[in-house]
């Protein structure tokens, strides 16, 4: 169960983007999607999210191939956290999180919808600001709102597009701790794209490195985050140190 991607191929009309991508994320696991800008990380998320249709390969969510599921029923299993966006209207936190319940709702907000949302706001520390417009929140708080909205969908798989971009160190740690705790508690398989290799080393159970349309390396983060791999994929020399089983990446100026 969880998420399984087998031999995925995707091309825009004129350009191959993803070639023979395979990986698996089990419930409660966090997979980090690594690679330089423009390598196709977001495209891969969009294939899993059924926004793009791959030319070949299969994507399996909770044992079901997503091309056999309607968008609506996929939304019952899978949710997506986009990069933090600004809203042009003063949407309150509670209304924003409630939108995550939309796949289950018609017009009326059912008791179950309220229960899920209220409990989530509590778990995510958003009770105090529940009725504030999201534009007045800090970047970290807003990211918590978007994660809460995705969890409100009660997904089995969650995709996150750079959840830590635009955040300072404290809030990067806070968001990822919260995410990690939530997916373990609720048994969700999570995939996130991330640029900070140290955060990937600290929080991801597994990482997948993309290079030239292909999977360059895939496995437990302590095995994949090596000086060689990083140099091949990013073209940057680094020093990788191990501390308490986690890999830490130091940039060098060479």
């Amino acid at each position: 169960m969880g998420l399984e991607v087998n031999a995925l191929n995707f091309a825009y009309t004129d350009k191959q983007v993803l070639d023979n991508i395979s990986f698996e994320v089990k419930p409660g696991e966090l997979l980090g999607l690594l690679g330089p800008n423009g390598v196709g990380k977001t495209t891969l998320l969009k294939c899993i999210n059924k926004i793009h249709v791959p030319q070949a390969g299969e994507i399996i969510v909770e044992g079901q191939r997503i091309d056999h599921l309607s968008e609506k029923s996929l939304a019952h299993h899978l949710s997506y956290v986009p990069q933090s966006t600004h809203s042009n209207f003063p949407v309150t936190v509670i209304d924003m999180v409630m939108i995550g319940r939309l796949p289950f709702m018609n017009f009326k907000v059912a008791r179950k919808d309220k229960q899920v949302v209220f409990a989530l706001l509590d778990e995510m520390g958003l009770v105090e600001m529940a009725f504030n417009p999201i534009n007045r929140l800090s970047g970290g708080e807003r990211q918590r709102v978007f994660i809460a909205r995705a969890i409100a969908q009660e997904p089995k798989v969650i995709l996150l597009d750079e959840p830590t971009s635009n955040l300072d160190m404290k809030h990067q740690l806070e968001i990822l701790k919260l995410l990690k705790r939530t997916i373990v508690e609720k048994n969700i398989a999570a995939v996130m794209t991330v640029h900070d290799l140290n955060l990937a080393g600290l929080f991801c159970d597994k990482v997948l490195m993309l290079k030239d349309q292909k999977v360059h390396a895939y496995g437990p983060s302590c095995e994949v985050l090596t000086e060689e791999n990083i140099e091949i994929v990013y073209g940057v020399k680094t020093e990788v140190h191990e501390r308490q089983g986690k890999h830490h990446v130091l940039l060098t100026n060479q």
């Binding site: 939304a75 042009n88 209207f89 309150t92 209304d95 939309l102 017009f107 309220k114 969908q153």
Partner: protein, 354 residues
């Protein structure tokens, strides 16, 4: 513990919103009765009730009351009700347009409907082109058809490029200028009488309102608003989140923009075909409503509609009475009233809103 607090606060908010909708509705009804009574012919509120009662019960009024009852039933009532319907329809359309484009600067006219309608009217008045162009109904029909043509072009062009908010707005704005140029060309070659009639049309007024128009708008708005309300949650999502996320929760944003846009186009086009261009109300009532009740469309749609109805009714009543017996077009008055009200609200509630 905090969950219970949320429960209470959420309930409290819903309760407050329902009360507010009720209060707006009550205010609108009171203002309607007052507006029917106010005007160059002095009428008491009792006479208003009496003539409505006589009409409904099929009682023939005393000969001495006949003139008054005729004024009430055939002049004042259709005018007042048409104004309310126009205000409701334009405001709800504005709310939905802003939400499906995620753009607070959009009004029902952003996609070119008003310029196209003005061109249609002008075509009938000046060039005599259209179905029965020399009758008032021919002008209405021409205006309506031309707005639909405009909407169709906007739709055709924006679908080609994925029906994004930007595609809709930019094609609409471009077409506005195009129809504006067409209208100006006609006005350039028009004689004085035609020019005056064509310009009068664009002022936006409720002169010559009839029960036929009222009934037609009741049907169109009566079908349109419940349909939009049915999509309230979709609108909640579309107004607050990007298309990527929208697709992720199983909604096709391009399709929704098509469906909801069509409802808005039909409502707006039928209103402005009868009244001419009444701008501003469709831009501003959605914002006033958001400042008061927030962005949840199940509440926002009725509130912005009711506020729009009130705003238009008050404006027209002032327009009818302030320089009586001259009637100033409601399209002019509404900006005089709406703009200070809006700016005041922006200043007072700025922090929460922007």
């Amino acid at each position: 513990m905090s969950e219970e607090r949320l429960q209470v606060a959420y309930k409290h908010r819903s309760f407050k919103n329902i009360i507010f909708i009720g209060a707006c509705l009550a205010l609108l009804i009171v203002l309607t009765v007052l507006a029917i009574a106010v005007g160059s012919a002095d009428i008491t509120i009792k006479q208003v009730w009496q003539s409505v009662y006589h009409f409904l019960a099929g009682i023939k009024p005393e000969p001495s009351d006949q003139r008054i009852e005729k004024i009430i039933l055939l002049l004042r009532m259709p005018r007042v009700i048409l104004g309310i319907l126009a205000g409701i329809g334009l405001s709800v359309s504005g709310t939905v347009m802003q939400s499906i484009t995620r753009n607070p600067l959009v009004s029902p006219f952003t996609i070119g409907l008003s310029s196209a309608a003005a061109f249609g009217a002008c075509l009938a008045i000046v060039a005599g082109i259209g179905i029965k162009p020399h009758t008032p109904f021919g002008i209405v029909l021409n205006a309506f058809i031309m707005s639909l043509v405009c909407a169709l072009i906007v739709y055709a062009v924006s679908t080609k490029i994925g029906m994004s908010p930007e595609a809709l707005i930019l094609t609409g704005v471009a077409l506005s200028y195009f129809f504006g140029a067409l209208t100006a060309t006609l006005q350039f070659i028009a004689d004085e009488n035609q020019l005056s009639a064509a310009i009068q049309w664009t002022f936006g007024s409720l002169n010559g309102a009839t029960w036929f128009q009222v009934i037609l708008l009741v049907v169109i708005i009566g079908l349109g608003i419940p349909l939009l309300m049915k999509y309230a949650w979709v609108l909640n999502a579309m107004s607050s989140s990007g298309d990527e996320f929208i697709k992720g929760i199983g909604i096709n944003p391009a399709k929704m923009r098509g469906i909801l846009g069509l409802v808005v186009v039909v409502m707006t086009a039928s209103i402005i075909s009868f009244t001419g261009v009444i701008g501003f109300v469709g831009l501003v009532s959605p914002h006033i409503a958001r400042m008061i009740v927030g962005t949840e469309h199940r509440v926002l749609i009725p509130v912005s509609g009711l506020l729009g109805g009130i705003l238009l009714l008050v404006s027209d009543t002032i327009g009818r009475t302030i320089l009586s017996p001259v009637t100033i077009p409601v399209g002019i008055i509404i900006s005089y009233i709406g703009v200070p009200l809006f700016i005041n609200l922006i200043l007072v509630r700025r922090k929460e809103y922007f």
